[in-house]
């Protein structure tokens, strides 16, 4: 699954909130060669924080660990075939909220430090939520 699909799946699954939160998304397109504003995530809105979207856990981890890239980003989205403990532990240790699209379930697993994803993703598309501190 590519980054485009993770973004589109997420936007479809929080469709009710798209207008309310004035959510905008930056999608891969054409021959994009410009540099991105690293303080803005791929998905952002008036009342939601910036969210960075990657295709896989490894890409999300690499992005998070690169301090030159996403300085203020504390919310990530990516896809995985199922929930993996080491991934959740990584996000817990770093106090980062994630919504993981489970390709086997067509639903989202959420780990978050405060309620955000749970409030915008349609309830019938949520597999499970962990609210961590």
């Amino acid at each position: 699954m590519k980054e485009t699909d993770v973004i589109l799946n997420f936007l479809e699954d929080c469709r009710d909130c798209l207008v309310k939160n004035n959510i905008v998304a930056e999608l891969p397109a054409g021959t994009w060669v410009g540099s991105k504003n690293r303080n803005n995530g791929d998905i952002r809105g008036e009342s939601i924080p910036s969210i960075e979207v990657k295709a896989t856990f490894n890409e999300a981890k690499k992005d998070f660990e690169n301090i030159n890239k996403n300085y203020h980003i504390k919310h990530y989205i990516y896809a995985s075939n199922n929930i993996k403990e080491h991934e959740i532990n990584f996000w817990k240790e770093n106090k980062v909220s994630v919504a993981i699209y489970l390709t086997s379930q067509d639903k989202w697993f959420i780990f978050e430090t405060e309620k955000m994803f749970i409030n915008i993703i349609n309830q019938n598309k949520i597999y499970y939520e962990i609210l961590g501190q």
Partner: protein, 280 residues
């Protein structure tokens, strides 16, 4: 009660922006498929339509399967190509939010002009941009009508070039056109020789890097990559010259650039070479 058969169309997209706009602004039910295509359902008074979106950055193999024959005829990737159930082209669209500054329009024509001119492409082709836009570099409001290209050609072909007022929404226009062409199969109006002559006159008069059938533009940037704007302009000139059976354009450049040009894999450059060019 007879259930109306749902007619399927396929929209091949260079990016997901239009689909995102649809999710936000239209209420059509949507579906997603295992091959990573997605669809929305559209109901009109006499038809039920399923419009299936295939995004280039999502499933390139599927995208390529559909578009290969169409895109072989041109040098870039238009934003949207609409196909019917028989995989025939119904509509091709390029849209741009860019202010109508300088050669902004010309630089996108490498995607569209070859298709506009190709007699094997029967479906309508549309280029959409705003009529007015703010030129940040010069702090001025620009109007498309100031462009020589619009004066020489585009203004006379409102079936090909659509210039929106500021209050109009570009995606709304794209949506309306797609629905219109799903409901009715239309054919493009061929470009006439007289129109090409007028365009060629405008090219000769206004493109400073083209004099006495010699093109002087820098084909490559200092870092060695393609100078896209220059090559797009050269492509347009070579297309028009070729259609009018004029003698091949001569390119004046360094030996290094000539070698790079002749060895290039770029679709744009290959099309220019196919149109016939010589080196001066």
């Amino acid at each position: 009660m007879n259930k109306q058969k749902t007619e399927k169309f396929y929209l091949l997209c260079d990016s997901g922006d239009f689909y995102v706009w649809l999710l936000k602004h239209k209420n059509n039910p949507h579906k997603r498929y295992y091959d990573l295509s997605r669809s929305i359902n559209i109901k009109t008074s006499n038809k039920e339509i399923e419009l299936i979106f295939i995004h280039k950055h999502s499933n390139f193999e599927l995208y390529n399967q559909f578009t290969k024959k169409t895109l072989e005829k041109t040098a870039g990737t238009p934003d949207y190509i609409l196909y019917d159930e028989n995989h025939e082209e119904r509509l091709i669209i390029e849209d741009s939010n860019t202010a109508p500054v300088g050669n902004a329009l010309l630089q996108r024509l490498d995607k569209l002009f070859p298709l506009m001119a190709d007699p094997d492409i029967l479906c309508p082709i549309k280029y959409i941009q705003y009529e007015e836009g703010f030129d940040v570099s010069n702090n001025k409001l620009r109007n498309s009508k100031q462009s020589w290209f619009v004066k020489s050609f585009a203004s006379k072909r409102d079936d090909l070039f659509i210039f929106l007022k500021n209050e109009q929404n570009i995606y709304e226009k794209v949506y309306d056109l797609i629905v219109e062409h799903m409901l009715n199969k239309k054919q493009k109006i061929a470009i006439q020789t007289s129109e090409l002559e007028c365009l060629h006159f405008g090219i000769v008069k206004n493109i400073r890097s083209y004099k006495n059938n010699i093109f002087y533009g820098k084909l490559f940037k200092p870092n060695g990559t393609d100078a896209h704007p220059v090559l797009s302009t050269l492509l347009l000139i070579s297309e028009v010259a070729n259609l009018l059976n004029k003698e091949p354009i001569k390119i004046k450049c360094s030996a290094e650039h000539k070698q790079k040009f002749m060895k290039s894999d770029s679709k744009r450059i290959k099309k220019i070479i196919k149109n016939g060019v010589q080196f001066s």
